[in-house]
């Protein structure tokens, strides 16, 4: 069953210079146990698409279905990890992780045990009482991750989660995210990762949706059949990255040079 169905979605914004079309006719599915990556040049609307999927914004036309129900408002059952962490500075790590749970109205005991579990799972033991400004970017994103996992979402949405981190930290965190994904005892059932880093997409995902430049439309869906853990220096890996690069290039925009981790706005 498709847990997420994007059904011919358009999105445009009115501006003082007229209407700008961000994306057109986006259609794809996300199934159970899918790790989907969405890549594309900057401005192609991939971050916007993620927000449409969660219901933070509405498509101009078309619809998005979560478990066959149309997404009208912010959907429970999905949780987002943000590029710039979006942690509340006046809350401790524990309190930040508990943030989404309190909104669900659980009793504090249940919240506490959940928080403890997901802090432990993401390797944040020892930081419970810390404030975001004390800890490094990598730790902060772990908190973002723990916060998302704590609400036990069916779908985990990740908006360029590693691009605000330095290259080494991103490497380390990516590996740990993969571990979490592969743990069958942990939520979620599906992950949608938006990134501008093609290597990252191919390293992590089962399938890559390639968007064109604005107005973004789906150029292709590239399956990644390589077994995990994936060897980034292997032939098949290179082939896949090349393939995605050329798709994007044909879409009209020169891709970033291979191995580059320079962030770009999307």
């Amino acid at each position: 069953m498709a847990i997420i169905r994007v059904d011919h979605v358009d999105k445009s914004f009115p501006t003082r210079h007229g209407t700008i079309s961000i994306m057109q006719d986006i259609a794809f599915e996300v199934k159970d146990a899918d790790f989907l990556a969405i890549v594309g040049p900057s401005g192609c609307g991939k971050s916007t698409l993620l927000r449409l999927i969660q219901g933070l914004d509405r498509p101009t036309s078309g619809a998005i279905y979560f478990r066959d129900q149309k997404v009208e408002a912010v959907a429970q059952g999905m949780a987002m990890v943000f590029q710039n962490f979006a942690l509340f500075p006046w809350l401790t790590v524990s309190e930040n992780v508990a943030f989404g749970l309190e909104a669900l109205g659980w009793e504090s005991d249940r919240i506490a045990s959940h928080v403890e579990r997901y802090i432990s799972v993401t390797g944040l033991d020892g930081f419970e009482e810390a404030y975001p400004r004390e800890i490094s970017g990598g730790m902060r994103q772990r908190v973002g991750l723990a916060r998302a996992l704590a609400v036990e979402p069916a779908v985990l949405l990740m908006d360029e989660p590693f691009s605000a981190l330095d290259a080494l930290t991103a490497e380390g965190l990516r590996e740990e995210v993969l571990q979490l994904w592969r743990d069958p005892n942990l939520p979620p059932e599906a992950v949608i990762l938006v990134t501008h880093n093609i290597e990252e997409a191919i390293q992590l995902a089962d399938r890559v949706v390639v968007l064109s430049r604005r107005p973004g439309h789906v150029l292709a869906e590239v399956p990644v059949d390589l077994p995990r853990p994936r060897d980034r220096k292997s032939g098949p890996f290179y082939e896949l990255t090349d393939r995605v690069y050329s798709l994007i290039t044909e879409g009209g925009v020169p891709p970033p040079p291979p191995g580059s981790s320079s962030p770009s706005a999307s």
């Binding site: 501006t15 429970q76 987002m80 500075p89």
Partner: protein, 592 residues
């Protein structure tokens, strides 16, 4: 130094609540709003005393002369402030020692309630220039207004010089422009934009203080009243002369409107040319917009923004004051620059000690002389009076908060309400409320009690500081955080309680600090006004004590005691309440 960006209301990225884009602010609306004020006054006056159009017209010439006096005082103070701020601000910004020592000194000097010193300043100047000379009180008032205008302009100059982009600075060096040329080509353009901005604000605050000061001098005493618009309003209200009062208000409104349209808006347009376009959103903020409507819009919003952001900029020195610690921060890795810190702190302390010693000597001389029994009895009441005043200011603050907080949240988050509501508030806030004090005191004291009137007066002097700071605070809620909250299903009341209010904490603290500052400054006319003893206002308070000391013969010891007690109280509250609160706000609540 804390970054003023915490307090400025310039846009933070593409905020959904609407960054400072120039709004269409129809000039007609502005005039209409300004007209509303005299309208209110007219109705009130008509209800109170006799009122006739002919009568009003008859008083206009006399009112004009009085207003002229007031205007000249403002002008003199402004000229002084301009010169002072240019010199001091440039110096502090371009010399390394400058910022470390001079800015904190200025901080300390301006945190004391200026108006509380007015009585003493008058006495000093009168003594210097001889009793009966018109120079004394005039110099005192000019000096007073100067102190209220100067520091915020100094900071404006200082900040804008500091933020000259480095390449421009280097270019000036390369071309070896020195002295006057450098000033004209590099330094002045960098500051002129900010200066105009801050001048608008300074004049707004200046009118408020000047009118208040003039009203103060009308208290019956052995000292003469200052001829000016404030005295006119005070006397006419006390004598129940509605027509004269209305004439005064009309003229004051006219002058303010004239200045607004004739001076500030054109100046704002001209100064805009010098802006380094640093606006983050960039859309529509093209410098040097060609079409007329764009320019007019920008000029209009310029002035109204001036009032709004200016009030929040007042907060900056308070805030910087609050962050001067007596000991360095106790956090790992935070002890750099300790030596320099202690050295500059030492310099400040030495200076303060010298001033303190001079004050102590003077106070001793006053207090060791003969004191009449009556005055002595009053002096004993001073601590109680301080307590009463603190309670009063706190009560007024609570009411301000109850009004300003919901209002700020509403106006910051509902664009439609803001489009109408904000211009109204900005116009109202730019008119000196003190001009209406006599009306309130002599007109309303029947309906509210004396305490009620005092509370109301205090409120008007406090609320805008709080409101505009809160407004800026709500607007600066990081879009990231808002999105995260929505993403996790936190909306409505929960959003307010768990996200918006905590994020407002820094703005709340700075707004409260400045609101209290405004409160202290309003005390001397909010607690005592006795023009001709037909109606009067007198409630127990430290402002009242200062006034009594001023108006009574041989009351100088009382005045000195009350003033010192007030200063001690303000400093104590600063140290025990505001500084710790602000430190916490900065440490725990700022989103970087």
């Amino acid at each position: 130094m804390t970054e003023p960006s915490l307090l400025s209301s310039t846009s933070t990225g593409t905020g959904r609540t609407g960054p400072d884009r120039p709004r269409a602010f129809p000039s007609g609306l502005a005039v209409a709003l300004y007209a509303g004020i005299p309208l209110v006054t007219v109705t009130a006056a008509a209800a109170g005393g006799g009122l006739s159009a002919v009568g009003v017209a008859g008083y206009l010439p006399r009112a004009s002369t009085d207003l002229l006096y007031s205007f000249l005082r403002m002008l003199a103070a402004y000229a002084l402030s301009l010169g002072f701020s240019l010199a001091y601000g440039y110096y502090a910004a371009t010399h390394r020692g400058g910022e470390r020592v001079m800015i904190p000194v200025l901080d300390i000097l301006q945190s004391v309630p200026i108006l509380g010193f007015f009585p003493i300043v008058i006495v000093v100047f009168v003594n210097l220039t001889g009793p009966g000379s018109f120079l004394g009180p005039n110099l005192a008032s000019v000096f007073l207004i100067f102190t209220s205008m100067a520091w915020n302009m100094v900071f404006g100059v200082y900040e804008s010089v500091r933020s000259i982009p480095n390449d421009l600075r280097e270019a000036a060096e390369t071309f070896r422009s020195r002295g006057w040329l450098r000033f004209r080509r590099v330094l002045f353009p960098a500051t002129v934009n900010r200066l105009v901005y801050n001048s608008v604000l300074s004049w707004t605050g200046g009118w408020f203080f000047l009118v208040e000061a003039e009203i103060f001098t009308t208290n019956s005493s052995s000292h003469t009243a200052l001829p000016g618009i404030g005295s006119l309003l005070s006397f006419s209200a006390a004598n129940g002369n509605g027509s004269e009062f209305v004439a005064g208000v009309l003229l004051l409104v006219a002058v303010i409107v004239l200045l607004d349209f004739g001076v500030w808006r054109p100046l704002g347009r001209w100064a805009d040319r010098f802006r380094y376009d640093q606006s983050p959103s960039g859309e529509g903020e093209v410098v040097g917009v060609r079409n007329a409507s764009g320019r007019l819009r920008r000029a209009a919003s310029y002035v109204t923004r001036g009032v709004r952001t200016g009030v929040t900029r007042i907060s900056t020195p308070f805030v910087q004051l609050a962050t001067i610690r007596l000991r360095p921060a106790r956090r790992p890795g935070q002890e750099r620059g300790v030596v320099l810190y202690y050295v500059s702190l030492g310099a400040i302390l030495v200076l303060s000690w010298l001033i303190l010693i001079a004050l102590v000597v003077a106070a001793y001389q006053v207090l060791s002389g003969p004191i009449s029994g009556e005055v002595r009895a009053q002096m004993l009441q001073v601590p109680l009076a301080l307590g009463a005043s603190i309670g009063r200011v706190a009560a007024a603050y609570a009411i301000c908060l109850a009004i300003a907080l919901p209002l700020a949240i509403l106006l910051a988050r509902r664009a439609r309400l803001a489009r109408l509501g904000l211009p109204v508030i900005e116009v109202v806030a730019s008119f000196p409320a003190t001009a209406l004090f006599p009306l309130i005191v002599f007109g309303l004291v029947r309906y509210l009690s004396e305490q009620g009137v005092a509370l109301l007066l205090l409120l008007t002097g406090m609320i805008w500081y709080l409101f505009f700071n809160l407004l800026a605070g709500v607007r600066s809620l990081a879009p990231d955080l808002e999105e995260a909250a929505r993403s996790y299903g936190v909306r409505g009341r929960g959003f307010l309680r768990r996200v918006l209010l905590p994020s407002l904490f820094p703005a709340l603290v700075t707004g409260s600090i400045t609101a209290f500052g405004g409160g202290w400054n309003t005390l001397i006319v909010a607690e005592y006004l006795n023009v001709n003893s037909s109606h009067s206002l007198s409630v127990l308070g430290i402002g009242q004590m200062i006034d009594l000391g001023y108006t009574e013969p041989n009351g100088l010891p009382l005045m000195v005691t009350a003033l010192l007690t007030l200063v001690a109280g303000v400093i104590a509250i600063n140290e025990l309440l505001w500084k710790p609160l602000y430190r916490r706000a900065v440490e725990r609540y700022r989103y970087d």
